[in-house]
């Protein structure tokens, strides 16, 4: 989720057209500020606009995209370095139209396409919160320099004409108040579609495939439609609420990557009524695959407890790594100490089972590979969940190379997960580098004459497929 929400409020090549309008010295009632805080939480602004270990909303998080590193910006009310001089109209345009105070266009990594559904009243509350509820931090925005032609922000004007929604969502009178509230939050502030909806040729969300699953950098945001096989149609409303509140559903799924951050910073803090409303709406979203209706195993009920220890014990580590059972030995060495020698997890589900787990039985292996390479982290009221990474981080429990991760992943897929999938070392390398890349930059440069659409697609791509983890991690560890 976070990956999509990068918002470039400050451009490195600032063509400042006019001085920012000075905001009116305005006082807002405390309950309005509080309402704004809740909406900003639901919108998860903090996840992207806060550097690791940095001050809230002060920006500075490095976000690696396939075409360069983007730095998130300071959205505290600092008049010098933040958005303290924004009028409410300027704030509203930035949040809902993707246009910042100086008139420059934002890239849609900031999910203004979703926030565009938010009401005037809610944006008013958010403005009150950002002006009065956030502590101003003097922190200059770090330079973002994307390569040509990525730096042509004006191209977004055309994209917005084609794809931007310009009106807040109005209730559907045929649906319940709960459903309408749920749709308003899910499609607006919580911006589920930003990650979970596949994109078209110009990186616009494909409305017909709403929430049916999409790749987000190294992670795959799975199908969360009501499809009973490919989606979460087999979950009850209570189960989805539990997942959003705690980040896990024992024996089925757990949140990692950007979803782990969304649970940590956003969903767990929403009211039960709002979580129920979101669940009601999400579980009504129709399947994108009506033909595949309701047969076959879901990603939540595949695999079984099993091990290959008898085949490798006593032969020594080096031999174990050479043979056919290297995946089993890597599992024993690195995974079994928490997840159990049979992949069974713990009785309380704190350490999830490797079978009956959406991470190992998805429609592709991205989340399995990403979990191994990047680990899992989220914080909720019930504690700080942390699975260490096995990539090239300094705190990786063991730094597994691509061949080793592939062996491990194939061992897990065979018995515990989606046995139809196999993983190659190359697949692991792609996830290690932050997810599938596009050669669209090169194509765009060659085909500049071919028209603006390529540029347009390229710009959308760059911001819509940012890879957050690696740049952030490297920076934090530098």
């Amino acid at each position: 989720m976070t990956s999509f929400k990068t918002f470039l409020l400050a451009a490195p090549f600032a063509f400042v057209a006019f001085a920012p309008t000075i905001s009116l010295a305005q006082d807002f009632p405390a309950d309005l500020v509080e309402k704004g805080r809740y909406l900003a939480t639901a919108s998860d602004c903090v996840a992207c606009h806060t550097a690791k270990g940095g001050k809230p909303m002060a920006g500075g998080l490095a976000i690696d995209s396939p075409v360069g590193t983007i730095m998130s910006t300071n959205i505290t009310p600092s008049k010098e370095t933040g958005i303290g001089n924004y009028t409410e109209a300027q704030f509203s345009d930035a949040v809902r139209k993707g246009v910042r105070a100086d008139g420059a266009n934002l890239y849609p990594a900031m999910p203004y396409t979703a926030y565009s559904f938010m009401s005037d009243a809610d944006v008013h509350a958010m403005y009150a919160y950002f002006m009065k509820g956030v502590a101003p931090v003097e922190a200059k925005n770090a330079e973002t320099s994307l390569p040509f032609p990525m730096n042509i922000r004006a191209s977004m004007i055309g994209w917005n004409l084609l794809f931007r929604n310009n009106t807040p969502l109005s209730d559907d009178p045929k649906q319940s108040a709960e459903w309408n509230r749920g749709r308003y939050l899910a499609e607006g502030a919580a911006h589920c579609a930003t990650c979970h909806t596949p994109r078209g040729a110009f990186m616009q969300e494909k409305a017909s495939l709403n929430l049916s699953g999409a790749q987000v950098g190294p992670w795959y945001a799975p199908d969360i439609t009501s499809d009973k096989v490919t989606g979460i149609g087999s979950w009850s409303q209570d189960e989805l609420v539990t997942y959003l509140k705690t980040g896990r559903l024992a024996g089925k799924a757990q949140a990692a990557g950007s979803m782990g951050e969304a649970i940590t910073h956003s969903f767990q803090h929403l009211t039960d009524a709002d979580l129920k409303a979101i669940a009601t709406y999400v579980e009504s979203v129709p399947s994108a695959h009506p033909a595949a209706a309701a047969t076959g195993a879901t990603r939540f009920d595949q695999g079984k407890p099993v091990n290959e220890l008898a085949a490798l014990r006593g032969k020594g580590f080096d031999n174990g790594m050479k043979g056919a059972h290297s995946g089993a030995q890597i599992f024993s060495a690195n995974c079994a100490s928490c997840h159990g020698f049979n992949g069974q997890g713990t009785a309380d589900g704190y350490y999830p089972s490797i079978f009956h787990n959406s991470a190992t039985a998805g429609s592709n292996a991205s989340n399995l590979i990403a979990t191994i390479l990047y680990g899992v982290e989220r914080e909720t009221e019930s504690g700080h969940v942390f699975m260490p990474p096995f990539g090239d981080q300094p705190n990786a429990l063991t730094q597994l190379d691509n061949v080793e991760v592939a062996s491990l992943a194939n061992y897990i897929l065979k018995d515990y997960g989606n046995s139809k999938l196999t993983v190659t070392a190359h697949d692991v390398g792609v996830i290690r580098e932050g997810g599938p890349k596009s050669d669209i930059v090169t194509l765009a440069r060659i085909g500049m004459g071919a028209g603006a659409l390529v540029v347009l697609a390229l710009i959308a791509m760059a911001v819509i497929l940012p890879r957050r983890g690696r740049a952030g991690a490297d920076k934090a560890n530098a």
Binding site: A333, S337, H384, P388, P394, N395
Partner: protein, 544 residues
């Protein structure tokens, strides 16, 4: 291949003492080069070495860490005449340590008892041993920094903290671990005798991640290796140190410390695994090999200016070798106790280490070992000729109904307990360490009149139907004393900052500097001394 041959600071050894100092120095802007005798291995390999080992050899933790030929360390497999450590005294000095990158914290239990103020003033208060060159209050801030550096969990209840007589200036970072069923029962039993079994402060993540390491998930495998790095070990720092710019040479055995005309350290020399010699120069040198390898290296480095060995004008290098001599009571009870849930060492009675009796004999710390017992009792069950279900049931019964109570004693510094260079050579042709060791009357008297009587009393209160006491003192693998600290350069090796009295640019921090042992494990004090030394080094480098 050696690509770098010089740095501001050269650190020999990559255990906890070496890495703590190296990190502080690189953070202060100095270039650091670390030299490790042994190999660098992955945690995965160590874990699988252990899991692949048959039960019969698991009494020897070194099976998870097979020594390289050029960097021998003690193993259980060697005959005494072939062993790396040679003994000449009445008692063995049978230590376990490993020469691997990351050092012996790979297989420590994580136990982190502080010294008490009294532990540091044995001579003033009880007329035995030595006083430390500074007091507890001087050491206390370094304990706090150690607790933060290593991630030490412990009780928040002041009444359950150790020491009771010395202040704590900061709380523990994480809560103490819950007691296993056996520990709970043991705690109740000893309470009836007037003793308080308190939670061990331990370098292990309790219920939360810390410093990029996960929470303990209770594998009960702390010794010989924490499979998930929830327990601090120095290996967990190595990747971070390298990212910060520390150069790490492994499989490189330092065998000589070279002095110059001003009798400062000029260089160290090491053999690589092909027996080729290399010379590494620097401005300042830190020997962080451990309390046994440090004195060996200093003695091996004897030259014309330092005929008794480097840093040895006092003739105290290699003397005062200390440990925590232990006696173990294996208790069989009628009712099940069940140890094994949680960390392998998780609680202890420390109050028995203190008292006016210390003018007469050693104090003792009683530890209910929380190792799962099945590993230890299986052979006894097999010897009974049982098979099938009967065998399973007997293993289960003995796992539940046996327990080890360990009485660990303090030992006094005695110059006759001495490490020298053996005539026997290792694979590289370097002399093996030879140790003359006698636990002494102070310890023997404690066992006879104090610790074993208390141990038997505890065993009886536990409802013991059988008690077996180890006939001899065993070693606790806590190497202390060989480069002892003191203010007087004529009878000590290092000063209050672990700087060699004889060489201003040589630091020898760690357990070797400890002037008393007390009864608790030594690592936290070694590390506190390392941080104190690092402060002094940073100040000294600034002035340089």
């Amino acid at each position: 291949m050696v690509t770098k041959t010089s740095a501001d600071v050269i650190v020999v050894g990559t255990g906890v003492v070496g890495v703590v100092i190296a990190e502080q120095l690189i953070d202060a802007g100095h270039s650091v080069l670390m030299i490790e005798a042994g190999p660098r291995v992955t945690r995965a390999e160590v874990v699988e070495n252990w899991r692949n080992a048959p039960l019969g050899v698991k009494g020897d933790t070194s099976v998870a860490y097979p020594p390289r030929p050029w960097a021998p360390h003690p193993t259980g497999a060697d005959k005494p005449e072939d062993a790396y450590l040679q003994f000449t005294g009445p008692d063995p000095y049978d230590q376990t340590f490993i020469r691997y990158a990351g050092g012996s914290t790979w297989h420590w239990a994580g136990t982190s008892w502080r010294l008490t103020p009294e532990d540091m003033r044995l001579h003033s208060l009880y007329g035995v041993g030595r006083d430390w060159a500074f007091d507890y209050d001087t050491l206390e801030p370094y304990y706090v920094r150690t607790e933060h550096k290593l991630g030490i969990s412990g009780p928040s209840d002041r009444a359950l903290q150790w020491p009771q007589t010395g202040a704590r200036s900061a709380p523990y970072l994480m809560p103490s671990f819950p007691f296993s069923p056996g520990e709970q029962k043991f705690t109740e039993v000893v309470k009836t005798l007037g003793y308080t079994n308190i939670p061990v402060a331990q370098a292990r993540n309790s219920g939360m991640p810390y410093d990029g390491r996960p929470a303990c998930c209770a594998n009960n495998n702390c010794v010989p290796v924490c499979p998930v790095a929830a327990k601090y070990d120095a290996e967990t720092s190595l990747g971070r140190l390298e990212r910060k710019g520390v150069t790490l040479l492994v499989d490189s055995v330092v065998y000589k410390v070279e002095t110059n005309a001003q009798n400062k350290i000029e260089a160290v020399h090491f053999y690589d695994q092909h027996k080729e010699s290399h010379r590494i120069t620097g401005k300042l040198f830190v020997l962080a090999c451990n309390g046994l390898e440090n004195p060996k290296l200093l003695l091996m480095s004897a030259n014309d200016r330092n005929p008794n060995g480097v840093a040895n004008s006092s003739d105290q290098v290699g003397r005062n070798m200390m440990d925590h001599p232990a006696r173990t009571l294996t208790v069989t009870t009628k009712e099940p106790f069940w140890s094994g849930l949680g960390p392998v060492v998780n609680s202890g009675i420390m109050e028995t280490s203190q008292g006016a009796f210390r003018s007469e004999h050693a104090g003792a710390y009683f530890r209910y070992n929380n190792f799962a017992r099945n590993r230890f009792v299986t052979f006894a069950a097999l010897k009974k000729g049982l098979v099938g279900k009967a065998l399973d049931e007997e293993i289960r019964r003995m796992t539940a109904c046996t327990a080890d109570i360990v009485a660990a004693h303090e030992v006094l510094p005695d110059p006759n307990n001495r490490l020298t260079l053996s005539a026997k050579k290792d694979w590289l042709g370097l002399p093996k360490p030879s140790i003359h060791y006698d636990v002494g009357e102070y310890v023997r008297k404690s066992a006879e009149t104090y610790s074993l009587p208390i141990g038997k009393q505890i065993a009886a209160a536990m409802g013991a139907i059988d008690v077996k006491i180890t006939p001899k003192f065993s070693n606790s693998k806590h190497i202390m004393g060989g480069t002892i600290m003191g203010k007087d350069a004529s009878n000590s090796v290092v000063d209050v900052d672990c700087r060699a009295h004889d060489h201003e640019n040589l630091f020898i921090p760690g357990g070797g500097a400890m002037a008393s042992t007390a009864c608790g494990n030594s690592t936290i004090t070694m590390t506190a001394l390392a941080i104190k030394a690092a402060d002094a080094i940073v100040a000294q480098m600034r002035g340089a």
